[in-house]
């Protein structure tokens, strides 16, 4: 059965063209789908279980999508709620939805799909041999799993279909694959599976597959043989090139995409311009495989304090690396003497911003910068220790001389206090898949009637 999915933008909070959204609603979609996050911004969101986006922006955009849903009379699905899709972020998104339901006077059936994984389940799966490492993967054990603050599994189409089958007006999903929220309905309605996944991949970033990436809104029509993608903003166009090139984006292999239960192969896909705005794609293949879900996990990797000193004196700018190396050695000795800490129990990282701050040892250009900001990143086992090392380092970062027979220099601190205590540092600790006999066995579905 032909299925039309309306995608307002690549992620909630990125903005979308209102007129284009209205056109999309008028075109009678079967479902509105939007992504709520990704691992793009780093491990902090998953580690802390919080959204990287402002609540105010989330709420105001979600309000417009809830109004669009009411007008269209079809389900609205958000995947990877609150950036990372942890259970706490599903709850956060649900709270926002309840507030809006009250403000808008909407009565709604809301399905929450939780993707959070209890450590015991993952530990048991590891012991049972149901966890497989991808390349490259960190080593894991019951011990490292115990250190993780959040573990999520990426839901696929089956779990979204289960949520839709409850008759939900709104599905608030935890971590899902970017594509699952778009592919679920066409797959459930018997559309071509290769087309369902490929069209979902093309659509998941909204209008990024078009000539006007920031316009946001696109619609994808799925059927038994392929899919058609159409941007809805005035002047935006999809071309065979813009559509096929999108498989390159954030994808290590431009022809293959792994999903729960198989993979998509677009090697033989054909891209055809229907007119100057719409592209038809056929020939994409879905290759069924073992049912596995990808796992993401984050753990605390210490606590950080940072300081910045700016070197403007040309002699120090020219000798910045030597200065930082010498200061590093001096501070290591001092931390041991004053705090009794061995060097291997904490980390001092000097970044020379203006010299090689971005690329480090890969930097192959040299120049003479006007100034260099020396960013000192201190990582220690706990926040108090990191802060204490920061205070210990402070006067030396300000005054440390290159040579002993010179007047004490004083560098520039850009603000007071010079140190910023950054709290916990998180790191991604899983790049693995977990085999499931029943796709729902690692997910929890909760359905609530929300009344204003």
């Amino acid at each position: 059965m032909p299925t039309r999915i309306l995608i307002p933008s690549g992620v909630l909070c990125l903005g979308f063209d209102r007129d284009a959204l209205a056109r999309g609603v008028a075109a009678k979609p079967d479902l509105i789908a939007i992504d709520g996050g990704s691992t793009d911004s780093g491990p902090f969101s998953l580690g802390s279980g919080t959204s990287k986006y402002a609540r105010s922006v989330t709420k105001s955009e979600w309000r417009e999508l809830m109004l669009a849903r009411a007008e269209a009379g079809v389900p609205l699905v958000i995947g990877t709620s609150g950036t990372c899709g942890a259970d706490s972020c599903v709850d956060w998104m649900y709270q926002i939805t309840c507030e809006l339901a009250a403000e808008l006077g909407q009565s709604l059936r809301v399905a929450r799909l939780y993707s959070g994984q209890p450590k015991a389940r993952v530990t048991e799966a590891l012991a049972d041999g149901r966890i497989t490492a991808l390349t490259p993967a960190p080593d894991i054990s019951a011990g490292t799993i115990a250190q993780m603050t959040n573990i999520v599994a990426l839901a696929g189409a089956e779990q979204i279909q289960a949520a839709l089958a409850t008759g939900a007006d709104i599905v608030i999903a935890g971590r899902t694959t970017d594509t699952a929220i778009i592919a679920a309905l066409p797959l459930a309605r018997g559309d071509n599976p290769g087309a369902a996944w490929h069209g979902a991949k093309i659509g998941e970033c909204g209008a990024l597959c078009s000539t006007n990436p920031t316009s946001g809104v696109i619609q994808v029509d799925f059927d038994e043989t392929g899919f058609t993608v159409e941007p809805l903003a005035t002047g935006a166009r999809c071309t065979p090139h813009s559509v096929s090139a999108h498989m390159l984006y954030e994808n290590s292999d431009p022809f293959v995409l792994y999903e729960p239960g198989g993979h998509l192969d677009v090697t033989r896909s054909r891209y055809q311009a229907l007119d100057d705005r719409r592209v038809r794609v056929t020939g994409s293949e879905w290759v069924p495989g073992r049912y596995t879900v990808k796992l993401e996990g984050a753990r605390t990797a210490g606590f950080q304090t940072t300081l910045i000193a700016i070197l403007r004196d040309a002699h120090y700018v020219a000798n910045a690396q030597a200065w930082a190396d010498k200061l590093h050695g001096f501070l290591t000795t001092l931390v041991h003497k004053r705090m009794g800490l061995a060097a291997e129990t904490y980390d001092l990282d000097f970044r020379l911003m203006g010299q090689n701050g971005t690329l480090g040892t890969m930097e192959n250009r040299q120049g003479t910068p006007v100034e260099i900001a020396v960013l000192l990143i201190i990582t220690a086992a706990d926040g108090d220790t990191a802060a204490e090392i920061g205070k210990l380092a402070n006067p030396h970062l300000l005054h440390y001389p290159l040579t002993e027979d010179e007047e004490l220099p004083t560098f520039a601190f850009p603000y007071s206090p010079a140190q910023s205590d950054r709290g916990a540092l998180y790191e991604f600790a899983l790049n693995h898949v977990m085999a499931l006999d029943d796709p729902m066995s690692a997910f929890v579905l909760d359905v609530t009637e929300v009344t204003p």
Binding site: P43, A245, S252, P254
Partner: protein, 102 residues
């Protein structure tokens, strides 16, 4: 000789998940694609990023006039040694690579 960035239409890089980085060279024309696929040696790209050649996955895609290179991030995204959370500035190294006369 020119740099890759001077010949190609665009060179971009981005994480492909926290554990991989991927670089896309949009050549912009069949001619530029022919020039770049012939001149760009995988071993040179590996050396630029201080990686062993065998960890690089390279895709030459004539339909798109694109050369794509992917490899595991030497530092996982967000690790305390990571300097570029999105891996988006890594492309600059390749764009600035000057093709050798050969």
């Amino acid at each position: 000789m020119k740099t890759i960035g001077e010949i190609a239409q665009k060179v971009r890089s981005k994480n492909a998940g926290p554990f991989w980085v991927t670089i896309d060279v949009f050549c912009g024309s069949a001619d530029a694609y022919a020039t770049l696929t012939a001149a760009l040696k995988t071993a040179d790209i590996a050396a630029l990023y201080h990686q062993p050649t065998q960890v690089l996955k390279r895709f030459d895609i004539p339909d798109l006039n694109v050369i794509k290179i992917s490899f595991p991030r030497p530092v996982v995204q967000g690790h305390r040694r990571d300097r570029d959370m999105h891996g988006a500035q890594w492309a600059v190294l390749l764009a600035e690579l000057r093709l050798s006369e050969s």
